[in-house]
Structure formats: C-alpha cells, structure tokens
C-alpha cells in the first residue's frame, strides 16, 4: 500500500508545482495519472520513490513485512532500502545499453546484493534463472543474450518491465511507459503491466486516456498541481476537456473506441520539460 498525503512543491519564485496532492493506492489497483503537460504528474511520481523531495507532505510506503515508512523523512540509507523494493519504468527505458537483456534484468537487484559481488557480475545461477523467468513473463526470453542497444523501443521497455519484476517490488511506478511506443506496442506493454497490479499497487503516468480507460482500475487527474478527479477510469468528455483544455473540443475523436479515427495522443512537447524541473 502507498499513502500520499498533502504533497506540495513550489519553485523559488513561488509558483506552485504540486499543491496538496493526496491519494492512497492499495494492492490490486492499477492507477493511471492523467494531466496536461506541466500539470505535475511526473513530479508526483518522482516524489513517490524519493527521486525528488517535496517541500511538505508525506509518502508512506508499506513493505512486504507490513512496516510503514515515510519516504520524505527517512535517512539516505533507509531510502536506499525502500527503493530496492520499488520498481520503476521510465519513458526513455534507461537501461544500460551496452549490456545484454539478461544483465540488465539482473541489475534490478543491485540494491539487494553486496556491492562487491555486483561489480564482478557475481550473480548466482538461481538469480540468473529468476531473471530469465522474468524475461519469459514479458515474452522476450529469446533475446536474453542480445545487447539492449540492438533492440527496438518495445523490446527495451519489456526488458525494463522484466527488470522491475525481478526486483520483487512491493510497489511499481511507471513514468509515461508507453509514450515512446507505437499503438500496438503500447497496448502490449499495458497488457503486461496490468496483471502486475494483482501483487502490488501500480501507479503510472499516461498521456493516453483511451489506454487508461481500458487497462487501469482507477484514474487520477491532475491539473496545475491539484487533483481534480479521482475515480472510475472511464471519464467523460467534459472532464477530458477540463484536464486538457478547451482546444480539445475542436479535435474530433472518439477516445474510447478500439482505434480512434484520428489517432490522438497527447504527445510529449517541449513544455513537458517543466514537468521535470531541475530543482
């Protein structure tokens, strides 16, 4: 379980990036966070595993022994311990490109093994087997020995998911995992992420309302750093317009059809960079 209470974050000039974000996500839930570029979605997710420290508020994560820890107020050492069990998938994959898929999956347990052992790639046969079965779960076991640099975007994202699975996480975060992928690959990745929510809370940032409607169990919409909606994933067109602005009214599309007539994706633009300010 993860409980987020009243997160705030402001720029030095006083502009509020996050303004009292609160929500709780339990095991079994797949929460999709929607919002326009710069609304504070990525910022929120980065606060959830301590990559970014909020100005105030708390992020309470429960581990597999049911111990609750507030990420915002623990020591660096403890944070490292908590992160070992938080899986994270990025938009840009962020794998070690020079290594094979299998090695990249094994890297998922870096925090859980001795530093010295990891530096000489001293992973045990059992760990290698587990890594292989993680690759099997994402259906690319045949690419285990291939260098990541030679793979396509969809394959790389599968390796990243396998890495997260191999971590045995108690929480899975995904920062725009399908924004860099074509529609069919995006669908496949969503199909892989969805069942993981049986064992752990899954929180993902998305720009595709049609995807969250289909695969998520709950949607949270953020606008200007505030939560404006938290509930059923199938959201109304009116709400979509509220999230993304009036311009959406002029675009003609049926968001909930299998394949939209005009494939509208709220793709990442330069303004999205404000989502991830260097604070």
């Amino acid at each position: 379980m993860i409980e987020v209470k009243n997160l705030t974050k402001s720029l030095p000039n006083g502009r509020k990036l996050l303004d009292g974000i609160s929500f709780t996500v339990n095991k079994g839930e797949f929460v999709g966070i929607l919002g326009a570029s710069g609304a504070g979605k990525t910022l929120t997710v980065r606060c959830l595993n301590g990559l970014l420290k909020p100005d105030s508020g708390s992020v309470i994560v429960e581990d597999d022994q049911h111990v609750k820890r507030d990420i915002c107020s623990i020591s660096k050492r403890q944070l490292k311990k908590v992160r070992e069990k938080i899986g994270m998938i990025f938009q840009g994959f962020h794998l070690v490109k020079r290594l094979t898929a299998l090695d990249n999956v094994l890297i998922g347990r870096l925090g859980q093994i001795n530093s010295l052992r990891s530096l000489v790639y001293g992973f045990t046969d059992k760990e290698a087997e587990e890594a292989l079965s993680a690759l099997e779960k994402v259906k690319i076991q045949h690419l285990a020995g291939a260098r990541v640099s030679s793979m396509s975007g969809g394959e790389m994202q599968r390796v990243a998911i396998a890495r997260a699975i191999f971590q045995n996480p108690t929480l899975l975060l995904a920062d725009e995992p399908i924004s860099n992928l074509d529609p069919s690959n995006a669908k496949n990745i969503m199909k892989l992420i969805q069942p993981l929510s049986k064992d752990m809370p899954v929180i993902g940032v998305f720009h595709q309302p049609e995807m969250t409607a289909k695969y998520c169990s709950r949607v949270i919409a953020i606008k200007a750093g505030r939560i404006i909606y938290d509930g059923d994933p199938k959201i109304s067109d009116e709400l979509l317009i509220e999230i993304y602005g009036e311009e959406l009214r002029h675009l003609e599309a049926n968001f909930f059809s299998e394949v939209p007539p005009v494939p509208i994706t709220f793709t990442k633009t330069k303004t999205e960079l404000h989502d991830r300010p260097n604070l």
Binding site: I86, H94, V96
Partner: protein, 264 residues
C-alpha cells in the same frame, strides 16, 4: 589613373605589420646567430653526416631488441596506470557527480598538469627515483592525467542524467551507480581515448629514454654521442618501425571500438 592610386592605397594597411614582422624576424636571427651561410654549411655537413650513417650496423640489431621492448613496456605501463588514475580524476572533475569544491580542485590540478611537459616531470622524478624505466613509467602516468582526466570528465558530463537516476532508483550504492550508470555507457570512449594516448606515449617514451628513462631512446642518444653513426642508424630504423607498427595497431583497435560504438 585614379584606379591605380586606389590599388596602391589598399595595401597601405599591410605596410606596418609586414615591417614589424620583418624587423622581429631579422632581430631574432641576429640574436641567435642564424644566417644563410650557416644554413648552407649545416646542410652540407648534414648530408655528409647521413653518408657516414650508411650502411646501418645490423650486427647491433640483436642487442637493440631489449631496449626496444623496454620502450614499449614503459609506454604500455604508463598508459595503463595513467588511464586508471585519470578515471579517478575524471570522476572527481565531472560536474554531474562531484561536489563543487572537489571539481574545482581536480580541474585546477588537471590544468596545471597539462601545462607541464613530460620531460620536466621526468627530470623531477630522476632526482627521486634515479635513472631508469621506473621514472619513465611514472612520468608517463602523471602525463596522462592532464589529457585523459579532462577527456573522461567531459565524457561523463555528457551522460543523460536520467540514466544515472534510473540506477539510483533501484536502491543501488554510490559505487554501483558509478559503475553501472556512469562508467558503463562511456567504456568505448575510455578505450578509444586510452589507445590514442598510447600512441602519444610510445613517441614520448623514446624521447624520455634519451633523458634517462632507458630503452631505445637511450641507445639512440648513446650511439650518436659515441659517434657510432652506423649503430645510430640501426637504432633510428628500429625506432621508426616501432612507432609506426604500434600506432597502426592502436589505430586498428580504435577503429574496432568505434564500430562497436556505432551499434551502441
């Protein structure tokens, strides 16, 4: 007519610079005693000297092999240790992973080192370690820091910050972040820069040999001092072959790394 005046006028701005250049060149020549007669005499002497060098004394070839190998070993060891130490300096000098004070200190040291020629470093080291290859290895090792330290630091600074964060997000320790997030992506650059430095070090190793580090450079210096020109020519041929072969080999290796780099 007016056109001609105009043509002459446009060269007016050249008069002063050319005059200044002529005066300074002539002045410098007077000061160091360089004149055309001296050049003439020198050329004649030089060619007769070349005549004395032929034919090369091939009987000296076997005894030259060990010094030649020494020269290579000095360069290999100097490059190896230099690369490792430079990596440490590179990490400490990179703005994305080091604290500000450490970065400034290291960048300062690197800058000073780059200003010092290896021969001067060796002259200092001869006082400490005496004559011999050991001083040569150390001075080449130190000599690497100025160039490789800066190149490595720049390569590290170009890494995508999110790829470092991705490793941090796994709960990895600082050393794991450095190995998997920082060093792994730049391994091709590290190898390529180190090999390039090795090519320089082979040539430097010959020069340092003459100053006291031993190896083929010392043999070259010795045979010319003892007026044994035929042996000197053998030395020269071996040195040339050494430098060309090792450079070719290193270039070949670097091209392999570059190819791998394209695929990454």
């Amino acid at each position: 007519m007016t056109g001609q005046t105009y043509n002459l006028k446009r060269y007016r701005k050249w008069v002063l610079p050319v005059l200044a250049l002529a005066i300074s060149v002539e002045g410098a020549a007077l000061v160091c005693g360089a004149n055309i007669r001296g050049l003439n005499r020198g050329l004649i002497q030089g060619f007769s000297f070349l005549g004395h060098m032929f034919p090369p004394d091939w009987s000296a070839f076997p005894e030259m092999l060990k010094p030649a190998v020494d020269t290579i070993i000095i360069a290999v060891l100097g490059t190896f240790f230099g690369t490792i130490i430079s990596l440490g300096f590179g990490l400490a000098a990179a703005s994305n992973i080091s604290p500000r004070w450490l970065r400034r200190l290291t960048r300062g040291f690197i800058r000073i080192e780059r200003a010092l020629p290896e021969i001067i470093i060796l002259l200092f080291l001869v006082a400490a370690f005496g004559l011999g290859p050991f001083g040569g290895v150390i001075s080449l090792t130190i000599g690497c820091i100025g160039m490789l330290g800066k190149l490595f630091a720049d390569a590290i600074e170009e890494i995508d910050p999110v790829s470092i964060e991705a490793i941090e997000a796994l709960g990895a320790s600082k050393i794991q972040v450095i190995v998997f997030g920082v060093l792994q992506p730049i391994i091709p650059s590290i190898i390529s820069f180190a090999l390039f430095r090795f090519e320089l070090n082979i040539r430097l190793s010959v020069v340092l040999g003459a100053v006291g580090a031993g190896g083929i450079g010392l043999e070259l210096y010795r045979s010319f001092s003892l007026l044994d020109y035929n042996k000197g020519l053998t030395c020269l041929i071996i040195t040339l072959a050494l430098v060309i072969i090792t450079e070719r080999f290193s270039e070949f290796l670097r091209s392999k790394v570059k190819l791998a780099g394209v695929l990454r």
